[in-house]
């Protein structure tokens, strides 16, 4: 298979040898973690296929779209509004930041105590192994945490098409004004890139496509809460990860198909694990593709993940964008309202995130919360302590995990995770 794509990869300027290594590791990880799962819904076959072609067919599609005149925009954060991108007939792709690559080169540019996510973004660039990054016409950085904000200054030397968006740090009126100004500026930039003027009909259509994608995930999130749990947390995470890469309409259809199957499973009381398995809610830093380490540990220790309060998960897809406006201005306001509700830890104060977690514990009927913090991620590690305290005050067992992408601490983590599962039983 990979033979067919070699020329394509070469034309994108990838380092074929390094890229081959990455694909092999990815394939093996997927095989070991995903294909060894029991009782998967048949509809996951689509996502297995997407994963096997994540650097193949999907890239070919993107290149075909580019030939047809569409632009590709890459992003690192759920604050980049896909509605606006789609309204200009462009494609938004999330950029992989879920694996270590070319670490020696990365550490020449970034301090060692930078989070894995940021290092990964640089590793994929320096190693020339990400076809998404290389096919992007515009890469959007955002001033969220200090790590990202400052690292974009360095990334700017490595790429020619970086666009940096400012993001407020407070949910105040001024904060909203800033987001509005930045989304307007982004809209202009996208229009300039694509040569398309965004009108209300276009914006409405963009909103509809993204909303449908979110609605499908909302449905999935409700269904997977059944007992016994009909879908593994790993598979749910995969779907949430593919959310950022796949063609949105096809993705929505495929998720809805899985949902139909889950409904049948629920009727037949068919679960991935027998009834009574411990139910875990994950909360914290986003788990970008192919970061499956912690969910894999949890689900091979006899528990099942019923939700993830994360940007690759509930935090990223939570609210719909109101589509009732008639003018570009009204629709833009609706977009701003929708994104301003994202409770990322870069905001201060950020009590609403805690409310979200507590609500999810209830609706998911979780027995406990595992807070996932990437090492050196100040915003989430800082919050992890107050989150833990608040949850424990409500008698919700909580385990704080701090880790990175390397596998060296797997056994230690496994002990903690297993002990936590023993504790909540």
């Amino acid at each position: 298979m990979s033979e067919d794509y070699k020329d394509m990869w070469k034309s994108l300027g990838l380092n074929l040898e390094a890229h081959d290594m990455l694909l092999k590791a990815l394939g093996k990880g997927y095989q070991d973690i995903y294909m060894t799962q029991q009782n998967r819904p048949a509809g996951m076959g689509y996502f297995d296929f997407v994963m096997s072609e994540v650097h193949g067919l999907r890239i070919k599609e993107l290149i075909d779209e580019k030939r047809a005149g569409r632009k590709v925009i890459g992003s690192f954060c759920v604050f980049v509004p896909e509605e606006i991108v789609l309204a200009a007939d462009a494609v938004l792709v999330g950029l992989c930041t879920g694996a270590d690559f070319a670490m020696e080169d990365v550490e020449k540019l970034l301090p060692r105590n930078t989070c894995s996510l940021i290092k990964s973004a640089f590793g994929f660039k320096l190693g020339k192994v990400c076809p998404y990054l290389e096919s992007a016409d515009m890469i959007v950085g955002e001033n969220t945490c200090d790590g990202k904000k400052k690292s974009y200054e360095t990334l700017n030397d490595l790429v020619s098409n970086l666009y940096v968006m400012d993001i407020p740090q407070m949910k105040s009126i001024k904060g909203r004004d800033l987001l509005k100004a930045e989304y307007m500026r982004f809209k202009n930039a996208v229009e300039e890139l694509t040569g398309i003027t965004i009108n209300s009909a276009r914006l409405k259509k963009g909103i509809e496509i993204v909303n449908n994608k979110r609605k499908a995930i909302h449905k999935l999130s409700i269904l997977r809460k059944a007992e016994p749990v009909p879908l593994s947390g790993l598979d749910a995470l995969l779907i949430n990860q593919v959310f950022f890469y796949d063609e949105p309409i096809r993705f929505t259809e495929s998720v809805n198909k899985v949902c139909d199957e889950l409904e049948m499973r629920i009727r037949k009381e068919e679960g991935v694990l027998p009834k009574g398995a411990s139910r875990i809610l994950i909360s914290g830093c986003p788990m970008a593709l192919p970061n499956w380490k912690l969910p894999w540990l949890i689900e091979t220790s006899g528990a099942v993940i019923v939700g993830e309060e994360s940007c690759v998960g509930e935090r990223g897809i939570k609210n719909l964008t109101d589509n009732s406006g008639n003018t570009v201005e009204e629709l833009m306001e609706a977009i701003i309202d929708r994104y301003f509700k994202v409770n990322c830890a870069i905001f201060t104060p950020n009590q609403d995130r805690l409310k979200d977690i507590e609500e999810m514990v209830k609706t998911c009927q979780a027995d406990g919360v595992i807070h996932y913090g990437l090492q050196f991620c100040q915003p989430y590690l800082m919050e992890s302590i107050s989150v833990e305290k608040a949850l424990e005050a409500k008698n919700i067992p909580t385990l704080r995990i701090e880790t990175d992408y390397s596998m060296e601490d797997v056994e230690q983590l496994r002990t903690r995770v297993e002990a936590f599962i023993e504790l909540i039983k």
């Binding site: 060296e408 056994e411 230690q412 496994r414 002990t415 903690r416 002990a419 023993e422 504790l423």
Partner: protein, 251 residues
Amino acid sequence: MKYAGIDIGSRSIEIVVLRNGNIVHSAKTDTTFDLLAQCKLLMKGIEAAKIVATGYGRKLFTDESGINHVEAITEIQAYALGARRIYPDVRTVLDIGGQDTKVISLNSNGKVVKFEMNDRCAAGTGKFIEFMAAALQVPIESFGAFALKADKKIHINSMCTVFAESEATSLMARGEKPANIAIGLHQAIVDRTFSMLSRVDGKTPVLFAGGVAHNPCVKSLLEEKLRDTIIIPDNPDMVGALGAALYSAGR
């Protein structure tokens, strides 16, 4: 009917066998590089209805020992069970072993409510003490007693094994008494442990297990800091294996 518990740590392996709730056998050996062979050696001649494994080698043991009736539990659960058998009112279990430190908080019914473990670095574990004893050229067994001879407590800033060693060496070069440095190093590990204890909101009585519980200086500094006495069982190394054996026997 006999029930066995085996605690497979990175440095040593312990086994405890129970019959009618009483310990009828216990033994200990080094882990070495061939963990499974060492386990087999310890298991020789032991006929147990069920074996429960704990410790970092528990998975390997359950998967590859070829024994059928084995189960695995974590060290957290094993230590909690073992400690409660030794001292039924215990509310906090502290275990400082060769490579990790754990603190377990129990409610009044003996259920684990919270636990903390050191992260991947060796700071605050038995390994730290081992390194420091070597740096000061004192045998590890008498390092605690040696530190208790101090006439002054030197403050050591670093908790990192590498940095603390160079700090100790430069203090020696400046002519500081080795015992005074030794007590400073002990204080550093105790401070670290104490912060873990506060994180789980550790209540007294505290039971101290693991190899480092043999060290009298750690015990006395910890008691000073806790303003309370701590309980050290007769065989602090066997608590995990005892807990596993109790679990095996169905408590």
